[in-house]
Symmetry: C2
Subunit: 227 residues, 2 copies
DNA sequence: TAGGAGAATTGGTCTTACAAGTTTATCAGC
DNA sequence: GCTGATAAACTTGTAAGACCAATTCTCCTA
């Protein structure tokens, strides 16, 4: 049996979706019906549906027939969180991901400085103020994440938003540890001010520079904290 | 039954791995042994192993006992390729991903210009020459991918390598269509030369600029080709 | 030491069973 | 006739167990 049965079933419905004959929101046949249609056991049908679910092509809740849905970037990154937790468990993995985050955030800062509208600046300033007003660790970390997310949003690209959110989540531990370790909130918030000012002044190089320095300090502080 | 049986089994082995009592390469017990150990049926054991496999924690081949393995970035991005195909099926999705690729590649070009060693330059030049020597579409696309990958490798970060490779794969169609549509290989190869020269001269801004222009042209040509 | 036969093991599939949730149909009351 | 609650029917989630084929592992033999 070259082609597994569950693959055959999965491909069948995948094609129906790709070709548009099944549209988001449509209801799929019940498992028993699919069983008959393909002369398959329930395990095969369920494995096929499971595979489609992992691809974000359908959502299923207990008791109800599955419905077709469109994959989102958020959903895709959510798929990774399981593997990512183990990947970041190794020091090299964590270092590599911190490095990747830096490239992303510096690039986003650069873009923000290039393209930010007046409204964007206003929103960013609000996020900045919230961060500066933070007095406890929880609030500080949360507003810190929000500030960086606001910068990502300026790109108007959902991929960057989702990536930024996902990386914030994966590296949350780093944020907490490096914030908790000694440094005053003001110091970090001051770096945020520098980033904000550069974006506001549309000074692309200064924005990239400020973000670079900011992340380098945060990462450095994290490694000092855990050692 | 609050905690599902397969979750219990999965968590048990996940903890063994996280705590280091099971190390990469170690052999897991046979499925039947696990069944006895947890007083579970085979479906539960298989579902648990399946879940661990998705997290990249173990690899299993037919006939052999599963072995512990560490998740790799390549593996993680491979997980996404299914969802990604559907995501890119929508024009906005494709545009967003092209944009994301641009930010990555421009950032990598910048880094390459900052940090490239003599050896890196030599390897990059080799990739460039191979690309310039390409005479047919297949070879051209393949050497084009290799050139961009060589730039990514200069970062010395497996995450960027894997990301670059994954994006090349996901956007392969774009490369083929935009290469096939009218433009001479020389024109594109000339843009590669500009990028290479900038990296070689450690001119960071020129490298970013050249990569930006290069990608903009390629993307532009793709959209003209498909419309 | 090399090769091959047989045992061990997993992968894939099917069947059956029950629990838990959702949808649909029915019916009483207004 | 319409509305709302209740029950029946349906559907998925979880689980156990059985079978065969394909692959790997082990050990014995030459």
């Amino acid at each position: 049996m070259a082609r597994k049965k569950y693959q055959e079933i999965a491909e069948h419905f995948e094609l129906l979706v790709l070709s548009g004959r099944l549209r988001p929101g449509d209801r799929l046949p019940a498992e028993r019906q699919i069983m008959e249609e393909f002369d398959a056991g329930r395990s095969s049908v369920r494995e096929a549906l499971f595979s489609l679910q992992r691809q974000g092509l359908l959502t299923s809740r207990p008791g109800a027939v599955p419905r077709v849905s469109t994959p989102t970037v958020d959903g895709m990154f959510a798929e990774l969180s399981g593997s990512m937790r183990h990947y970041l468990n190794r020091p090299e993995g964590l270092r590599e991901m911190q490095d990747a985050r830096a490239l992303l955030e510096i690039g986003l800062a650069r873009r923000a400085a290039q393209t930010a509208s007046g409204d964007d600046i206003k929103k960013l300033e609000k996020a900045l103020d919230a961060n500066r007003a933070a007095r406890d660790l929880d609030t500080f970390v949360q507003t810190d994440v929000a500030f960086h997310l606001a910068i990502a949003r300026i790109s108007r690209n959902p991929v960057f938003e989702a990536l930024n959110a996902a990386l914030s989540d994966w590296l949350k531990d780093q944020r907490v540890k490096s914030s908790a370790s000694g440094a005053s909130f003001e110091e970090v918030a001051d770096q945020h001010v520098k980033i904000f000012e550069a974006i506001k002044n549309k000074d692309v190089e200064a924005a990239a520079e400020a973000m670079d320095r900011h992340l380098a300090i945060v990462v450095d502080r994290y490694w000092k904290a855990v050692m």
